[in-house]
Amino acid sequence: MITKRIIPCLDVKNGRVVKGVNFEGLVDVSSPTGLAEYYSENGADELVFYDITASFEGRELFTDILTKVARRIFIPLTVGGGINTVADFDRVLKCGADKVSVNSGAIKNPELIKEAAQKYGNQCVVLSTDVKRVGSEFRVFAKGGREDTGMEAIGWIKKCVELGAGEVVVNSIDTDGVKKGFDIEMLKAVTAAVNVPVIASGGAGSTADFINLFREIPDIDAGLAASVFHFGEIKIPDLKAELAKNNITVRL
């Protein structure tokens, strides 16, 4: 049977891995290549790289790092950040990415998903979305979680899957950085709405949070986290051993 995936996420800015708490107060953690190799050797099922650089120079540096990482890492690699055109897909795929994640680029132009899926296949296009509760509904936020788009999140995710997104990373702004567990309620709503793999993001603080995620939502495919892995608070091999003990299928 297919395994549940554990995915460390590396936010890269100006060539270094950073991770914010509630998206503010970025702290430098480590070198992207070093971390990527460490994870690849230590049980990560996949890696996600987000380029959160804005400048052209930063972008070049990122492309350079990505190529270095991809030459040495032989597990699936998803790349996101600053993907606004099919040419951007092309740029990161040529540097060794296997999947490309779109967030703001899809909000600005949903057809980007369709164009990219037609060119590279659905399996290559990952929708990444930041979701936050506003009143009684789940809303899509843009610009790293700072701007309310006014769009209802579940409908947005469904639309993107129909356009050709082959996988969805859903990050809950409400639980992100708080380390008190994934946003089970919101993730349940997403998995019920679409039939492509859904990757949970935001809120992992302990091994118990991952066990709870996979128990509460059997349809969830993967759990993604950053700081708890980067700071060694959770070691992936230990996490997977615990998941296996709890009858959750993982790659050991």
Binding site: D45, F74, I75, P76, G96, Q123, N195, V196
Partner: protein, 204 residues
């Protein structure tokens, strides 16, 4: 030298990197002469069967591959490249493959239980059906990375490994010097590198 056959389908970065990583001499090429001179061949590919089969045909590489295969040269197909080794595919119509392994490519939809997601994406365990050189450095139950919506059927004699996804799904197939993996060895960590290593080895 291992020739990675480039016929304009898919991203060859990882495959080239992984062969480099294990120290194999590999070259991405679409040149018939280089393919003829290579010791072994790898046929990669992602995307749609019909499109890939057409590109092979238009480039004339289908004939080169068949000739080399007939000469006994080892050929490994990966993912769509593996599917192309079969006689035909029923992906959006009916399309002819290279016909180097008996069997056809059919949809997972309708074969696996309805509640399972398609494509079959992720890490799954393989179980051996036959002994094969590709498995020299790996063991039963090792995990490999799959991404596919179609699978090889009617090929019982050539299945060398399968995987469980609500039903038994062909993971690797072989017939003499022709072999293929449905999964991506270049994306399957050390297990995948060990499969590539076994393929690249020259046995004496």
């Amino acid at each position: 030298m291992i020739a990675i056959i480039d016929y304009g389908v898919g991203n060859l970065f990882s495959l080239r990197s992984s062969l480099g990583f294990i120290g194999a001499e590999a070259k991405v090429t679409s040149d018939p002469e280089e393919i003829k001179n290579a010791d072994k061949l790898i046929l990669p590919g992602v995307g749609a069967f019909a499109d890939a089969a057409l590109k092979l045909k238009e480039s004339g590489l289908d004939i080169v591959i068949k000739e080399e295969a007939a000469r006994g040269k080892e050929l490994m197909g990966i993912c769509l490249g593996m599917q192309l080794l079969f006689e035909k595919s029923y992906e959006y119509g009916e399309h002819e493959g290279l016909g180097l392994i008996k069997g056809s490519i059919v949809p997972l939809a309708g074969y696996i239980p309805e509640n399972l997601k398609i494509p079959h994406i992720g890490w799954n365990a393989i179980s051996f059906k036959k002994e094969h050189k590709l498995f020299k450095y790996i063991k039963e139950g090792d995990f490999v990375y799959f991404v596919h919506s179609y699978y090889a059927a009617d090929c019982e004699d050539s299945v060398i490994a399968d995987t469980e996804y609500g039903a038994r799904v062909t993971a690797a197939a072989a017939s003499g010097n022709i072999m293929g993996c449905q999964f991506h060895p270049e994306k399957s960590g050390n297990v995948g590198l060990n499969i590539l290593r076994a393929f690249c080895e020259t046995e004496n």
